[in-house]
């Protein structure tokens, strides 16, 4: 049997440079499972990609529609951006009873979406990260900060939660300004942020969108020289672009000690896929969860395995790390229980979203280094 999984991401559009690696991450998990030959007695898994465009809800729904009704996929990894994710969920996934696990839609609003138990995400809601980042800032002694965020639901939600957590912890937010991704120039934003001042600039953006532009302008004008960077900003591109220019900057990314993405990143890195961006591990995990749940339910039917996703993701059971999917499948086949850890220390809470362990990073010697796990 060949089981098809849909991978719906914005292969064109504003985050087109992140998505190839994310898709490759999830497809890597599928390959791992297919190669093991242990899923449902030797089924193989293949992926069918669909373009979410990240922004066009209609196009994204049409793509999902096609995957489900004509390609006959049994589960969907995606979508990427929160807006289109919500649209696909409401218009296509729920009506068709399709399981959907998003690796990167982090909007808190999705927690409350009507999902009929079909929607999960492997990235934590932004509410949690705000708290973590605020803690890091206070511990490092940054007493005042300016915030700039990418003007979408991710950036806005994250900025809101950072601001409120930071203020609650006693920090002073001097200003909060949005920046639009893909714009030609960020002088205006940086000028105003500089005017507001602060010990550090929090940039809640994307590493291959407006984020670096803002940092560049801030560095060049001498407005700020240390930055606090949430998950969307952490990636190889950051090291490449700034190196030790942002020495001492701090950041947070979902992750835990026991989990690591290095293996996936190495496996998928190639000439054509730049694997330095975020959400690669999450994508791997999303695909892994679907397949593990199928194994647990003994069926590839979404209606059957949806209920098993929480079981395989959480304790009790044997911990399954990246690259150990075969082991997980075996245990499940034998009727045992697993606690999937994967690339991002998956722990699903509430309505099926990641609880979120975080890795605190610091830029040292021009490299992203791990300070500790939270």
């Amino acid at each position: 049997e060949d089981i098809k999984l849909g991978v719906i991401m914005g292969f064109t559009g504003p985050i087109e440079s992140l998505t190839p690696a994310m898709a490759a991450g999830s497809e890597y998990a599928m390959k791992e499972v297919s190669d093991s030959g242990k899923l449902l007695g030797g089924a193989t898994v293949s992926s069918v990609r669909g373009d979410s465009t990240c922004i066009d809800a209609a196009a994204a729904s049409a793509a999902a529609e096609r995957l489900i009704t004509s390609e006959g996929v049994k589960g969907i990894v995606g979508a990427d951006c929160s807006g289109v994710t919500g649209a696909i969920l409401a218009n296509v996934a729920v009506p068709n009873g399709m399981v959907m696990i998003s690796p990167s839609a982090t909007s808190p609003a999705l927690s409350a979406a009507e999902d009929n138990g079909m929607f999960f995400r492997t990235s934590p809601s932004d509410a949690r990260q705000g708290q973590v980042l605020a803690d890091v800032l206070m511990e490092q002694g940054f007493k005042s900060a300016a915030i700039t965020y990418t003007n979408n639901d991710y950036g806005k939600g994250l900025a809101d939660s950072i601001a409120s957590a930071y203020a609650a912890a006693g920090g002073e937010v001097t200003a909060t300004f949005a920046h639009e991704d893909g714009k030609a120039d960020y002088s205006a934003e940086v000028a105003s942020l500089a005017s507001a001042g602060g010990d550090i600039l929090i940039v809640a953006g994307y590493v291959d969108q407006g984020g670096p532009g803002v940092i560049r302008a801030a560095l060049d004008t001498g407005a700020f020289d240390t930055f606090a960077l949430p998950d969307g900003m952490i990636g190889g591109a950051l090291e490449e672009a700034f190196g030790d220019e942002i020495e001492g900057s701090i950041g947070t990314v979902p992750g835990s000690e026991s989990a690591n993405t290095t293996m996936i990143v190495e496996a998928i890195s190639s000439e054509t896929v730049d694997a330095s961006g975020p959400y690669i591990g999450e994508s791997y995990d999303a695909a892994a969860l679907i397949m593990l749940a199928m194994q647990a339910a003994g069926s590839s039917n979404p209606g059957d395995y949806a209920g098993k996703i929480m079981d395989v993701a959480n304790a009790p059971g044997e911990k399954i790390n990246t690259g150990e999917l075969a082991k997980g499948l075996e245990i499940l086949a034998a009727g045992g229980e697993i606690d999937y850890v994967g690339a991002t220390a998956v722990e699903l809470i509430g309505g099926g979203e990641a609880a979120g362990g975080y890795r605190e990073i610091v830029i040292k010697g021009g490299k992203i280094t791990t300070a500790k796990y939270r």
């Binding site: 440079s17 714009k183 120039d185 002088s187 934003e189 105003s192 500089a194």
Partner: protein, 337 residues
Amino acid sequence: MIDFLNGLVALSNFVLIPAIAYGSQLALGALGVTLIYGILRFSNFAHGDTMAFGAMVTVLVTWWLQGMGVSLGPLPTALLALPVAIVATMALVLFTDRMVYKFYREQKAKPVILVIVSMGVMFIMNGLVRFIIGVNDQRFSDGERFIVSVREFKQMTGLREGLAIKTTQGITVIVAVVCVALLFWFLNRTRTGKSMRAYSDNEDLALLSGINPERVVMYTWMIVAALATIAGTLYGLDKSFKPFVYFMLLLPIFASAIVGGLGNPLGAIAGGYIIAFSEVTITYAWKKVLKYWLPESLEPDSLVQLLSTDYKFAVSFVILIVVLLFKPTGIFKGKSV
């Protein structure tokens, strides 16, 4: 007095210098748009992607040069690569013209058809660039980053506020001024330039005067290709090269060309600065500057900001519309088809 200077330096550093540099970048892009409009009489949506293509060739050649160990000392190596890129871009646009636009010209299609056609070309060029170099940020700048950096400036003057002027900013401004002067001279003083204007005015009559229309079109595209490549490269040097951003640049570039008056090179320059300055100044938070300028008792604790930067783009459009209401064809009385 020192306080006043500090305030002034802060204002220059954060507002004036970035706005001038950004304005020049827009102006260079707008020159290309305005020329196509002025002579071939349509709004060329593919201009942003032409810029991206030109810049991409520069990036590739620069990498190659860097690999060979060639450098220009304090200046970016990309300047050496520029001529190659210009030639490549010229080849591309001339090829496009042959394959695409020529047909519609012969059909005497309405300008709006050409606009839509240029969107088709935009999609294709867009795909081409992403195809060759990918969608990610690419760095290719080297040489001395700053003419004056913040730290140097502070050391030099002993002021609390610093001032940075980047090499690329300097180059951009100089190049923009030189380009517009050359173009102005070319169009108004040379025979070829005049024949280009004549063609744009009345194609049939140009024919009757012995002007070869295909030649005019060819020259136009070649100049536009050169301008686009220069603009794209300078922008890429200053910020970074990313194909998608060139598409997004299109909007402010059009705004600049229009507010200045389509078809007029001086208008493109003026328009570029107007758009850039309105983006940067109107939403500026004056707190920092006022802290220096006002006596302590009056020091503001709010940001003293007229509008949030969220609206910077909106503001520049409001200004554009206001200008157009008083000067319906732009500041320099542009054309309209």
